[in-house]
């Protein structure tokens, strides 16, 4: 079965309690579906996802435009970090 990987950074890592997950890939997973998949697995991600940036294979993805997940994709969830 093809998969795709999700990497969690900063507060997304805290909320999901892991730094990465593997998901089974099926045809036609959109960016919206992806958010739902993530919430199903980690309900604690709810607030984090709303303010996070997404990157696919190390490239920024605009959340205002729909995109679909491809097999083997590495998707990064990047919330802003404020501390210093």
């Amino acid at each position: 079965m093809p998969h795709f990987t999700v990497l969690y950074f900063a507060s997304a890592k805290d909320a999901s309690k892991t730094d990465s997950d593997k998901f089974e890939w099926v045809e036609g997973i959109t960016s919206q579906d992806l958010s739902q998949l993530l919430l199903d697995r980690h309900p604690a991600l709810a607030t984090v996802l709303k303010t996070s940036m997404f990157a696919v294979n190390m490239e920024y993805m605009d959340q205002d435009q729909a995109w679909t997940v491809q097999p083997g994709d590495e998707i990064a969830i990047i919330p802003p970090v404020s501390g210093g």
Binding site: F9, A10, S11, K13, D14, D19, T47, V48, K50, T51, M53, A55, M58, E59, Y60, D62, D64, A76, I78, P79, P80, V81, S82, G83, G84
Partner: protein, 465 residues
């Protein structure tokens, strides 16, 4: 020195040939004089460490309205100091001149600003402004290595400026000992060429972003928490601004500061170094055609660095887009719903009269009244210090562990439960949870001010962290 010999030879030669070596000697001595004067200045600076007020009074305090005077050549002292940079291909004399003629503003003299300001000062930036409103505390020093133990209580902006001047007296350092907000940010930012965001809170990050977009300044932004860091240059050569990537500020309750979340000192230090590097690259136009990126640093991951390729600015961005709706600075504390510092605010969830003061708990403890003392801090904090006979269940795990408390409530299930945490914030929602479960017939109260207050008021030997 053989005076008689030189007098003899000069008397013999004609005047045109004897003047030249003497002039050369005068020039050499002049240079030596300048070098000695600088040594004296450096020694004075060092001595002044023991006389803080003198040194602090010496530092320029206001954003100078006059632009940084440009120089067209480096002095011999500068050439000697920056020699290792000057011989770098693709940097050379032009790169050094660009730095010398550049004014940079470091906002925040904390964990990020510490390494950043030192490297920028050392590298030979002509003018370096340092903004901070806070004072040096002992708990800063594991990461804010620009300060030192003898400067506790000193304004951080002044302490940082002293360190930069001691490293490189040729760098003009400007102290801005203030809270940057919408009323004062724009003129300060406009007085500099490059701005470095080394702050510790969301409100100031949005403020800096908007002020840099409005003032047309590149913003080198860094952040760090626990083992993670981020680095991005915003508003530079058509790249995005902070709002393009993060249009919505994170809810205040989800933002963790270094004081509550912890931070390994070298993590902000690393990001601060990278910020200095990016600022130097912008000043010297190195790699200026590279696409915008965000660098993610994960200190405890096998892949420590990842670079995310960003897009251009968003045409619909409300500040840097094609039809911006923000044309002047707004109220960022209100916009973010959180304060412009990284201090943890006091929570008031439960009326004061329904809570327990440290003194009241002390007398309960001394009278040996049977009770349960529940400490809701994370285990890693509980391991540092705890009150005798307290049980530890972190707030976030409380609902799953209610039964463990019930076991301690005595045969009548009527012992009072007292909740304690670090500062008296987390203890309040914990009380609410315990009340919802109705776990005891006795009272449920929390201790105002938590263990920090306990250390202040009851037991000075109890550690604070």
């Amino acid at each position: 020195m053989n005076t008689s010999n030189s007098t003899h030879s000069s008397a013999k030669s004609d005047s045109s040939t004897s003047v030249e070596p003497l002039e050369q000697r005068v020039r050499r001595l002049e240079q030596e004089k300048v070098a000695l004067e600088q040594q004296i200045e450096a020694l004075r600076l060092e001595q002044a460490l023991w006389n803080r007020s003198t040194l602090a009074a010496d530092l320029p305090k206001e954003a100078p309205l006059d632009p940084l005077p440009k120089v067209e050549k480096l002095s011999n002292l500068e050439i000697a100091r920056y020699g290792r940079q000057l011989i770098l291909p693709n940097f050379g004399i032009q790169g050094q001149m660009d730095l010398r003629n550049c004014a940079m503003l470091v906002v925040g003299a904390g964990g990020l600003g510490a390494s950043c300001a030192l490297y920028l000062g050392g590298a030979g930036v002509g003018r370096l402004g340092i903004v901070d409103h806070d004072t040096v505390d002992i708990s800063n020093l594991h990461r804010q290595i620009i300060h030192n133990e003898s400067r506790q209580g000193m304004p951080k902006a002044e302490s940082a400026a002293i360190s930069v001047r001691m490293l490189n007296p040729l760098c003009q350092v400007i102290v801005h000992n203030l809270v940057l907000d919408s009323s004062n940010a724009q003129p300060i930012i406009n007085a500099y060429d490059i701005v470095i965001d080394a702050t510790d809170n969301a409100a100031t990050r949005y403020l800096l972003n908007d002020a840099c977009v409005l003032g047309g300044k590149p913003l080198v932004s860094g952040s760090a928490l626990r083992f993670d860091g981020q680095l991005t240059t915003y508003n530079y050569r058509g790249g995005p601004c902070y709002r393009c990537l993060f249009p919505t500020p994170p809810p205040a309750e989800t933002v963790t500061n270094c004081s509550d979340g912890g931070v390994l000192g070298v993590v902000p230090g690393t990001i601060g170094c990278l910020q200095a590097l990016e600022a130097i690259k912008i000043a010297t136009r190195m790699n200026e055609h590279d696409p915008p990126t965000m660098t993610l640093f994960s200190a405890n991951s096998s892949t420590m660095f990842r670079t995310i390729k960003l897009r251009k600015r968003k045409p619909d961005c409300i500040v840097c887009g094609d039809s911006p709706t923000i044309d002047k600075l707004i109220d960022y504390v209100q916009f973010c719903g959180s304060s412009a510092t990284d201090k943890t605010p006091d929570l008031f969830l439960i009326p004061f009269q329904e809570r327990l003061t440290c003194k009241a708990y002390k007398s309960i403890y001394d009278r040996r009244t049977p009770h349960v003392l529940l400490d809701v801090r994370e285990k890693v904090q509980f391991d540092i210090c705890s009150l005798p006979s307290s049980i530890n269940i972190p707030l976030k795990n409380l609902p799953e562990h209610i039964d463990e408390i019930k076991d301690q409530l005595g045969p009548q299930q009527d012992r009072p439960v007292y909740v304690v945490c670090r500062r008296g914030n987390d203890s309040q929602p914990a009380v609410k949870i315990l009340q919802e479960y109705g776990i005891t017939r006795g009272e449920i109260k929390d201790i105002v001010g938590g263990l920090e207050k306990w250390s202040d008021q009851i037991d000075p030997d109890f550690p604070k962290y």
